[in-house]
Symmetry: C2
Subunit: 490 residues, 2 copies
């Protein structure tokens, strides 16, 4: 199946690209303007009486999700489902402003506005189909899984259930009990350790490499060694101690992405669809470059450069590295815009300690993070807003959400790993061998059994929610007798 349908072109050709006028601001009348939002409709399996499978778009061009969310494609025939992939405002081609004005007009890039876009889109789609009761099942991975969760919480009348893949909804301040801000770095480190299938020396060498970088970064001669050992491009040499720290952040970022994309087969997903794919289990591959316990100094830095090259040079066409660039321009823009969301509502907390993880000591300081947001975007985050708006761990009034998490995925530390309520179909499924929402991908011969089982688990609920929605519609409004107070029964 993966071979037959996973090709980018073939899937896009099976869909209609559509555009709709959407309000820039759904929650005030200060800017009553509209912008064009993009979405795709893929209806080859759709028939009247079927369902809508709705991808709750997140922070990338929506074609990335269209091309990779195999679960939706594979289940579509069985449920006569129309696939709809909605693009998140500001990402992909759904830009509310011309390119030159965009970065100065970010204020309407919020999750609530995006969900209101989706609410109006679903309303219009149901009307267009002429079936107000069509069951709608949401799918989303990562931030898309968070949006799916919140969308089911806030708009349950529009969506009947949600598969929330790798949704780190519990990574915010104000959680009770509090979120372990160090969990992300710890899980990246586990991936680079024998328990993640990596060579024994890897995590230790990575940790040592930061020390070498810091030491060498202090002197001109040291920086010259860094530049040489790590193959930095002329235009992107470490000229100052600050550069050496920026280089460290850039290199560490590769490990974060490699861990998220630590799939059991080659995949382009985590490099935003750019070919060729990362290798299978890319953390293990990167770690191979750091297998020698004796590595040190310049040699260690050179090995680190080769390791992070598994990510940054997956295309194998770079002669040198720039620590100011990601693996491709699309990823850079998406990360930049996500940075704005981080600096406003999505104030997720992260820390490292260099002991339980292979990084360096960097406690989370709210003040510093806020100051940096002011500097880079001119905005001040509202640190508690996500928890106030979406409820943190007090999800018990919600219903019909499957939370899935792969334990290789560093985001799983902030995800829902336990059932919240079986009675209300608020259930969790854990995929020990899975990276970032592996279950949402196309089936693959190298899939571990746990992901196949997770997909079956998800399908069970999808089928149930579709039945529920149809049964409810068939029964009509379930109104009891009027409770006249004079005869009100308790």
């Amino acid at each position: 199946m993966a071979e037959a349908t996973g090709g980018k072109r073939s899937l896009l050709e099976r869909c209609k690209e559509r555009w709709r006028e959407t309000r820039l601001d759904h929650f005030s009348w200060a800017n009553p303007t509209y912008f064009k939002q993009r979405y795709f409709v893929c209806d080859e399996h759709w028939r009247r009486g079927g369902s809508i499978f709705f991808y709750v778009g997140n922070e990338a061009d929506v074609t990335l999700y269209l091309n990779n969310t195999g679960l939706m494609w594979e289940l579509a025939p069985r449920y006569s489902a129309m696939l709809v992939f909605a693009e998140h405002r500001y990402y992909g081609q759904s830009k509310p402003f011309p390119p030159k004005e965009l970065r100065a007009n970010m204020a309407w890039l919020t999750s609530e506005q995006a969900m209101a876009d989706y609410a109006t889109l679903l309303w219009d789609l149901k009307k267009e189909i002429g079936d107000q009761d069509v069951p709608v099942i949401g799918f989303g991975g990562s931030y898309g899984g968070m949006l799916g969760t919140w969308f089911r919480q806030k708009y349950p009348h529009l969506i009947d259930g949600v598969i929330a893949g790798s949704a780190p909804i519990w990574t915010y301040k104000g959680e009770e009990p509090p979120y372990d801000a160090g969990s992300f770095a710890k899980i990246v480190t586990q991936d680079a350790s024998p328990e993640g299938g990596s060579v024994a020396a890897c995590a230790g060498n990575v940790r040592e490499a930061w020390r070498v970088l810091a030491r060498f970064g202090k002197t001109k001669e040291g920086r010259s060694t860094i530049n040489r050992a790590m193959s930095l491009c002329d235009a992107s040499r470490a000229e100052t101690e600050g550069d050496a720290l920026a280089l460290r952040d850039w290199a560490a970022g590769a490990w974060d992405y490699l861990a998220m994309g630590n799939y059991p087969y080659p995949s382009v997903y985590i490099v935003n669809g750019a070919q060729p794919p990362l290798p299978a289990f890319p953390v293990r591959v990167a770690c191979e470059h750091l297998s020698d316990l004796e590595l040190g100094g310049e040699e260690l830095l050179a090995a680190m450069a080769r390791a992070v090259g598994v990510f940054y040079n997956h295309t194998r066409d770079l002669d040198c590295y720039s620590f100011k660039q990601g693996p491709n321009p699309e990823t850079d823009e998406d990360a930049d815009f996500w940075g704005y969301q981080y600096c406003t509502e999505q104030f997720q907390i992260f820390s490292k300690d260099g002991v339980h993880d292979m990084f360096w000591e960097e406690p989370f300081r709210t003040k510093d993070a806020i100051a940096q947001c002011k500097e880079s975007w001119g905005v001040e985050p509202r640190p508690l807003w996500a928890t106030i708006e979406w409820g943190g761990k007090r999800l018990e009034a919600a219903s019909n959400i499957v939370f899935s998490n792969g334990l290789l995925d560093p985001w799983s530390g902030g995800g829902v790993l336990h059932n919240i309520s079986e009675a209300r179909d608020l259930v969790a499924v854990v995929i020990p061998e899975g990276a970032h929402h592996l279950d949402l991908m196309f089936s693959h011969p190298l899939d571990p059994p746990s992901v196949t089982q997770a997909r079956r688990f998800e399908e069970h609920y999808i089928a149930k929610w579709i039945r529920q929605a149809r049964d409810r519609a068939a029964a009509g409004p379930q109104l009891g007798a009027p409770q006249h107070a004079a005869v009100a029964q308790l």
Copy 2:
């Protein structure tokens, strides 16, 4: 009880007036400014381990609700409840802009923004109390009952249940089955008919009076008769045919308010707290002036003027009427601002036919209503937004709401009169002899038994929701075993 606590001064003295900084715009970063929101805390019965009773403020100075929501006051001792009365932005003293700038800066007067104000207020209160699990029960009447309903839908993690009095949540376009836009006028007419306890001739005379007004309004001589018969002030004479129509609207408005305020005892509630009160069953009192079947022409208009005077001249200090004014300036401002909300999100639909009601034929025309909104406020309503955002009749995913409606209340035609789900505590109680959220008022010797029973019904659920909240907190997070996919059980 009413006599002891219903006096305005004494209740206010039992509360602390407080102010808080609230974001003008919770859902974008375009206007990162704050304003001062007012609320009252009345904590004489509060003790640790008790509850919060939260009045979800609507379109008036919050002291009106503080002084009239007797149900909260009367139940407070039994539940060791802290009473909190939150003022809705733009109303009362919670003005985000100075008076002269306010009407030009209305864009942030939306229900979602108001609910976000309440969400942050509740978050902060729980933190201040030091009890994250304190049960919170919401109370709201009319638009406050709608806000309460929507608040429980969108923020169930902050509020454990809501008593929604006379909340006409089903008065919007897009309802399925559609809303009967004529129901409001029909119920006003019922109140002015024998089935509402009024004299037999009333509704017919009212209907005839509009015809006389229209006929007399066409000529100069006729308008002169109108001015004399209806005691219009010099500055507010009917000089044109248009004036005669505006006068008609003004007179009809009195019947709407009298029906809402058709309580079994004297009350100042529907005149915004202005003394002296309207009489008991004020529709019946107004109808007394129209009891003579033989009335016609000038006599009929004079009788109509006396009838609407029950509302507009309840203070008995007017020598003449102005059809440009309501009963007092506060009511005028509130109605003006509610007009803005009507012209944006709260696009409730109303029609009259002059056959099933005692008014004139006036079908609802969306286009005309939109044009009028553009003219008066420069904004364009989004007619379907309320239904898209709050779900119309698809409330089945919600929980813990009691909907109460009095059948004398014209808003009951758009309210929830049947249980939606007994399993999920989405229940309705109907008070045949009740006007606009009579059940939320103080107990009174003239209460019909049905309202006493309705309050018992409501208390049953309040007690249950408080128990639920405390039990949940005591049990801690109800997390089941992790569902490892390899062993996931369906």
